[in-house]
Structure formats: structure tokens, C-alpha cells
Symmetry: C2
Subunit: 205 residues, 2 copies
């Protein structure tokens, strides 16, 4: 453990070093950078972090981070409320939004079922998804979870829960990533993309 | 520019993304990590950063970061006040301290002379170093600046300023890094370490 010449410095570095992927050397670099800025900058930084954590809300409908009770996406009338994309985290909402190809709503589960990490269905926002579907507005549920064992398990669990409703269920297509070299694709992905080959209409997406 | 579902989130991510080496994706990851912690954690983080930047002091003697007017190193009677190690930044003080091989004091210049970046001698704590030496307590000044053109220029500038005093001046030895492969050392380093070869006494450091 390094010892700095100042307790204040020690504390600030310690706080930064708690963040994921940030070690004590990087933490020190960041803190010394802040010290070179005007004090007002540091205060704006501190204030933004504290305010977010104190005042953050989660959308009652989709559990996305929001400034209000219902998030901007759920409250936009221009969006297609009949399609719900099921994602793991807020970051996935942002990733899908960045494609600009989706105009429906979301449902943020808050994770995936993972017995290894002690996360069961009741720890996730699955019940509220089932309720949303049973209320009848939703026509299609798109599963956009990670293509891992946990993601697949969660997909299947929700599939069983929604079985019996007349909602359409779909899952993101899996295959070779756009721009990838075929020779470096793993066998599982290459095999699946062969089995699930798509009709070719002369256009490549 | 990404658009998040919350202005608070947007602001916090924006503040993190101002830090060096942290892009918007990493910033988002850090902010979402903070959101998963108790609010008290985020407040401790924000408080540590704001307090440091508001209350930080610099040692009157050596310009190191300090909680008091004179830093812990300068005020320790067990340290050898007759030797002063001249470094660029606070980080270099920590690096030298971590070797546990130095018991003297420091002098933090705050940078090196760099005409390219508009940093001249008057922007650095050079005058106060010269004063320290002229007060007569200092017997040896060790130059521990980066082995770059700017570092060498600064060394030489201070050398000229101290010329005429009877202080001993030395510079960190330069050569092959411990643990480095000879074949990957650059020519300048390898050449210098050949010219400046040391007597071999049967022990390797």
C-alpha cells in the first residue's frame, strides 16, 4: 500500500481506486489531473456524481434510469408501444438506441438468471414484464440478452412464463459479426450461422 | 454523442469523461457502478474529491502536496536534510519513495522547461530551489527528471544557476532497465550504458 504525503490525497485516491478497472496508479493520475483544474471543476464533478446517486429514479414501466417516474422512451408517443425489447442493463438500452433501428420500448431486467452468482428470477424485473404483456398492449417481445448460458436460461424462463399469452416472441439473430474475418469466428458462431443461413436477395446488410 | 434517458446520468458521465484516458463508454461503466453502490458510498467519493481540491496545500519548502504548511517528509527529523532530490511532479516523489532507498528531501519543480508547451523557468519552482541551496543546508542536489530533451534542458538550466555554490550535483544513472531484454533496448540507452559502464565487483544490483 502506497503512502502519500497527504491524508486528503490518500482518501481521494482510495475512493477512485474502488471503481472497477481503476488501480491505485490510475487513481492517482486522475486525482492529480483534477488538482490541476480549477476548484469549480472538481466541485462540478463531485456534485454531478452525488446528485445522480441521490436523485436517480428508475422508470416504473421499463426500469430504465430516468429523471421522472416514467422515462423519456416510455413516455414518447411516437414510439411503438406494441414492441418490447428485453435487455439486461441500462447500457444495453443505450447500445440498442445507438443503432437507430429500433422504435419500440424496452424492459430492463437488471441482470440475468445466474445460480452461480445467486441471482434468481425474483431478483430480476420479470414479474413486471409478464404483467405488461398480460395487460394486452404488447404484441411482440424481443429477447436481447447476452448469448451466454445465463442469457439463454433467462430467455427460456421468460418464454415459459409468457407461454399461453398470444404475444409473439423473437430473439436477436446470431451469426458472424459484421466486419469479422470468417477464419477467426469461433466454431459455435460459424456453425449456427450456417444452420440459420438467411435467404440472399442480392443485398447485404 | 450518445443521448441517455436521464439528464443526471448524462451530466455524471460527461464529468467522468473529462478525465484523462476515460472515454464515454468507460465513464458510463463507472457511473453505473456507482449507482449500484449505496448512496453513502457515492457521497463519500464526491466528498473526498471536493475536499481534496478545496483544501489541498503545497509544502512551502518542497512544493509537494501536503495537509500542512510543511509536508510530512520535510518535517521528519529522521530524514537527511542535506540531500535534495529534484523531481518533476508529486508522482515522481511517490515513485522514489516507493524504492525505500532514499532518505533525503525533495524539491518538486512542477514540470520541466518546455518551449514547445510554453513552459519557461519562471513557471517552475526553480528560484525556491536555488534559495534552498544558497541557505547552505543542502550539500547534494540529485537531478531525477525524465531523461528527455526537456528534462536535460532543465537539469542544465539549474546546473548553471547553482554553478558557483559548493553544492554537489548528481543525476540518476541511465542504462538498461533492470529485467529488460538487451535486444529490445534502444540504441541510445544501450550506447550510453556501454560508455558509462560501471566497475563490476562480483555483485549485481
Amino acid at each position: 500500500m502506497q503512502q502519500y504525503s497527504s491524508v486528503l490525497l490518500e482518501k481521494a485516491v482510495g475512493e477512485f481506486a474502488k471503481l472497477p478497472g481503476i488501480g491505485r496508479k490510475t487513481a492517482l493520475r486522475l486525482v492529480l489531473h483534477m488538482l490541476r483544474q480549477p476548484v469549480s471543476e472538481a466541485e462540478a464533478f463531485a456534485d454531478a456524481v452525488a446528485r445522480l446517486c441521490r436523485e436517480v429514479k428508475y422508470c416504473k414501466v421499463c426500469h430504465n434510469i430516468s429523471d421522472n417516474d416514467v422515462c423519456e422512451i416510455c413516455s414518447q408517443p411516437s414510439r411503438d408501444a406494441s414492441t418490447v425489447c428485453v435487455v439486461e442493463t441500462v447500457r444495453d438500452v443505450i447500445a440498442v438506441e445507438n443503432t437507430s433501428l429500433y422504435r419500440g420500448l424496452y424492459h430492463v431486467l437488471g441482470g440475468v438468471i445466474s445460480p452461480m452468482e445467486g441471482i434468481g428470477p425474483s431478483d430480476l424485473h420479470i414479474d413486471s414484464l409478464v404483467e405488461r404483456v398480460k395487460r394486452g398492449e404488447v404484441k411482440e417481445v424481443i429477447f436481447a440478452l447476452s448469448p451466454t448460458m445465463e442469457g439463454d436460461t433467462t430467455n427460456f424462463y421468460i418464454y415459459r412464463k409468457l407461454d399461453g399469452t398470444d404475444v409473439k416472441m423473437s430473439v436477436l439473430s446470431r451469426g458472424i459479426s459484421v466486419g469479422d474475418e470468417l477464419e477467426y469466428a469461433d466454431e459455435a458462431t460459424l456453425g449456427r450461422s450456417l444452420v440459420n443461413r438467411m435467404p440472399f436477395t442480392g443485398r447485404t446488410y
